[in-house]
Symmetry: C2
Subunit: 305 residues, 2 copies
Amino acid sequence: MSMDRLIEKIIVKGNPTVVGLDPNLKNIPPYLLEKHVKEHGETLKAAAEAIYEFNVGLIDALYGIVPAVKPQSAYYEMYGVEGINALKRTMDYAKSKGMYVILDVKRGDIGSTASAYADAYLGSVKVGETVIEPFAADCITVNGYLGSDGVLPFVERCKENGKSIFVLVKTSNPSSNELQDLVAGTRTIYQVMAEKTNLWGEDLVGKNGYSDVGFVVGATHPTQLLELRRAHPRQFFLVPGYGAQGATARDLAGAFDRRGLGAIVNSSRGIIFAWQKTDCKTGENFAEAAYDAAVAMRDDLKRYC
Amino acid sequence: MSMDRLIEKIIVKGNPTVVGLDPNLKNIPPYLLEKHVKEHGETLKAAAEAIYEFNVGLIDALYGIVPAVKPQSAYYEMYGVEGINALKRTMDYAKSKGMYVILDVKRGDIGSTASAYADAYLGSVKVGETVIEPFAADCITVNGYLGSDGVLPFVERCKENGKSIFVLVKTSNPSSNELQDLVAGTRTIYQVMAEKTNLWGEDLVGKNGYSDVGFVVGATHPTQLLELRRAHPRQFFLVPGYGAQGATARDLAGAFDRRGLGAIVNSSRGIIFAWQKTDCKTGENFAEAAYDAAVAMRDDLKRYC
């Protein structure tokens, strides 16, 4: 099972961290863009090559201590077709180094379209007789606002192809309360989403006791993290919000089970742009700075799991 | 204002139809793929070239009578980077023929990420001193499950760049009731989403009386269409579900105002794959078949608006 593969990588590394690869050009070391602009001019190609080189440096520095990466698709889509090419190459490179790739795309649509997205990210397409996996993520994030028929195509690909998904339950952003915390009958909307997600994934529980269909729950909501952990012992959590969004390791304590499993915690800016808080103003130390930040985060989290 | 541009195109063509460009390879005429496989082998490149040629044929046949196209991003993402390249080229070609391009991406994320998506589809990025519009859609679809901070970056780009969005309110799929119809207090979730969307777009009402921030409401829900039309006279509707999903023109009557404006109705499979219902088994008549189907749909809709 796919979530088992993630859990085993977390155990081997002793580290429940996923590093978010959100390489906004404004924050990557300027020399990287300058180098590729020399070759390609001020183009999306230059931006994409700078991003890819940045990501390779990060992955080389991190794969020994971090089990997973989570590229945020928006930061690649914003550089157009070239940016998405850099995303694909980044995913391939991370997998070649043994990292588990959670692609953060938050897709969700009507059944036939969800099926097309599922083929894109967790499955394959046929061109003539040739079967091709267009992106081949290990796992993606899914938005369930459309209900079961918008999510089940992703669940089917999990089953068929050994993949995982995390469904948005309670997101980390300040206005997540507007819809997600509304009370319908006796339950909040995020509780309804959690219960539905539990059902969608009930046939996909692996040997570690967790389903291939997990939850996204923000670290910025420690009470809900604990409540959802207790109510849904078979759901693994992808937890954004640590670091730049304000949550601390203590806020996360409720996300873990007695074995110290149950959640993988994302940090993006706090790790990949750690060079900005060092004395090296060129950013040539970005990979070492990311490594140091990842070690500090691991040690911080390990106090609570 | 961007919604005014759409409305003016609808008035000029006398046709409130948007054609969904969802070119699943399984349904496009086989000779198109065969031609490009000869040149590129059984690759994503061949698939993408076949899709692009199909789309160009459709656009050439339709731009005289149809005001807008709605490419569904999933059907391009499923052919990888090459597929997304075909999407971008299709959008550019449709715009060159004067069509309004609604890109159906259903994006939604936390604020900083929503901002990156908004730059990708409705805005621009800077590479050095060069400003580039990566996709340059006229309009996109947005998922509001994350609340205001996940939607407002898109609204800002509407204001800054003369763009529009349609927020998912009540989707056309069978299980849309599971979350969207839950009752919180006195209102359903889709009514809450509608009220929020109304507020997000209240500063962007154009000279035709409609905001640049509209709703997605499925044609499969005629009662809700009428209810939402009455409650939200300033919101233009993007209405999927006509044809292949089962809704008829009569179901749509409630979506329109007294001027016959207020909604644009999508049909995808019913138009672009109309060749499959003709006697021509090679599909070489796909463009004429699409034209005939679009004329029939226009005439069908005009009985009610």
